[in-house]
């Protein structure tokens, strides 16, 4: 390699390199312990995150631009087709909504009879997934709204066909969210058909969830729809999560081997919805074991 004038002019050792290294290593370890065990460093993360935000916007910009150009250059007849399709869709949804209002009223009445807590409608806001890859070790996404829009940690994220994940870190203008397919993500679900409660774990694959705690004699079969049960407090109840794919009963094992396919296409969505659930007002009990 070519030698360097500036630096070879004084070949003496870099002063105090070892001491600086040890100092920085100790600081890193303290940071990691604080961050991982106690989660004390939200403010620090936010401050540095604000500095990183412009970088994320710059990386995201070409993708936005491409979308914009593509939208702008769509042909007229294609747009007309699209409008026609959307109008038909709207009509259908409106018809369904009419029934929905009636059902909602009926549901509220029945709940009154049962003296159950009223289920109020959830607030929703659309966010876009930024074209930014986050944590290489996890199934994370970055979305383009953050604390200033009222996003909070643990908030549920869905798309049109089902649950996607939850917010794990809120920055000022962006947030990081963990997908339900992340190996460390668990989601309380119930079988829509009979209300059987269980837990769906991520596997690290976009197309597969694991249900490790279904007993061998439980009433569950392929094709069953799993919806959020609302237990655990993070997710509002009743959103579709996955469809049971395989049920493998092994006689000598206590639990059956059950896998499910998420209803949302976790690796394809671009727009997601964040849910402000009105039942969030009821704080989930924090259980320290």
């Amino acid at each position: 390699m070519v030698t360097n004038r500036a630096d070879t002019s004084n070949l003496a050792r870099i002063p105090a390199l070892g001491i600086r290294l040890i100092l920085l290593l100790v600081v890193s370890i303290i940071l990691m312990v604080l961050d991982h065990r106690q989660n004390h460093l939200g403010a620090v993360r936010q401050a540095i995150g604000a500095a990183v935000y412009p970088l994320q916007v710059i990386v995201d910009a070409p993708f936005r631009l491409w979308d914009w150009i593509r939208e702008g250059t769509t042909e007229r007849n294609q747009l007309q087709l699209e409008v026609g399709r959307l109008q038909a869709e709207r009509l259908l949804t409106n018809v369904r909504l009419q029934r929905m209002t009636a059902l909602e009223a009926e549901n509220a009445r029945l709940r009154d009879l049962l003296e159950a807590r009223a289920q109020v409608r959830d607030d929703v806001r659309i966010a876009e997934i930024m074209a930014v890859d986050a944590n290489p070790y996890r199934h994370n996404i970055v979305i383009d709204i953050g604390k200033r829009d009222g996003v909070y940690d643990g908030q549920a994220i869905v798309d049109v066909s089902g649950v996607i994940g939850q917010v794990i870190e809120t920055g000022l203008a962006t947030s990081q969210a963990m997908l339900i397919s992340d190996p460390s993500h668990s989601l309380p679900v119930e079988v829509n058909r009979n209300g059987l409660r269980t837990i769906a774990n991520g596997t690290g694959e976009f197309g597969r969830l694991d249900l490790p705690f279904v007993t061998n004699n439980a009433d569950i079969r392929p094709g069953d729809l799993l919806v959020t049960s609302g237990l655990g407090g993070a997710f509002p109840a009743g959103y579709p999560v996955a469809v049971v794919e395989t049920v493998n009963r092994i006689p000598q094992e206590p639990f059956a081997d059950v896998t499910a396919t998420p209803t949302a296409a976790l690796d394809q969505v671009r727009e997601v919805m964040l849910i402000w659930s009105s039942s969030d007002a009821v704080e989930p009990e924090s259980s320290d074991e």
């Binding site: 002019s9 600081v27 940071l31 990691m32």
Partner: protein, 161 residues
Amino acid sequence: MSRGSGRLPVIVTIIVSIMLMVIPLPDWAVAFRPDWVALTLIYWAMMLPRTWSVGTAWLIGIVLDVSQGTILGQHALALCFIVFITVHFHLLMRVFPMQQLTATVFAILTLYQFILFWINGVAGVDVQLVNYWGPVLTGTLFWPVVTILLSRIRMRVQHGR
């Protein structure tokens, strides 16, 4: 020989490397994203160890941790450590022929990923192994390209004035 004027290009290359770390890749390629930041820092630590040393590496590591959402301090510690090794052997590494230098960088990148792997292990983050050896492989492959690009920049800064 004023060092101040030479800093801006280096900072720009580091920022570009951070951006390369968050640019979206197709799913199959994510595990094989070269560690651009590590490669850039190794180069600058080898060539200008008095200006770009463990302190810079630590700061960049923290920024990387925040932008990627990893444990705060994970990349900082790993980068700090490999930059220390690079600075320690920088005179030796500068006279290595390219093959030998690439082999050395391979070893350094392996160590880097091992530190990340170890921290993930302690913290209980479960990751497929391809996420560790993928970047080492591609990082080593891209090292010659990175050196050529960065040495152009360095030449221009140091001799072009």
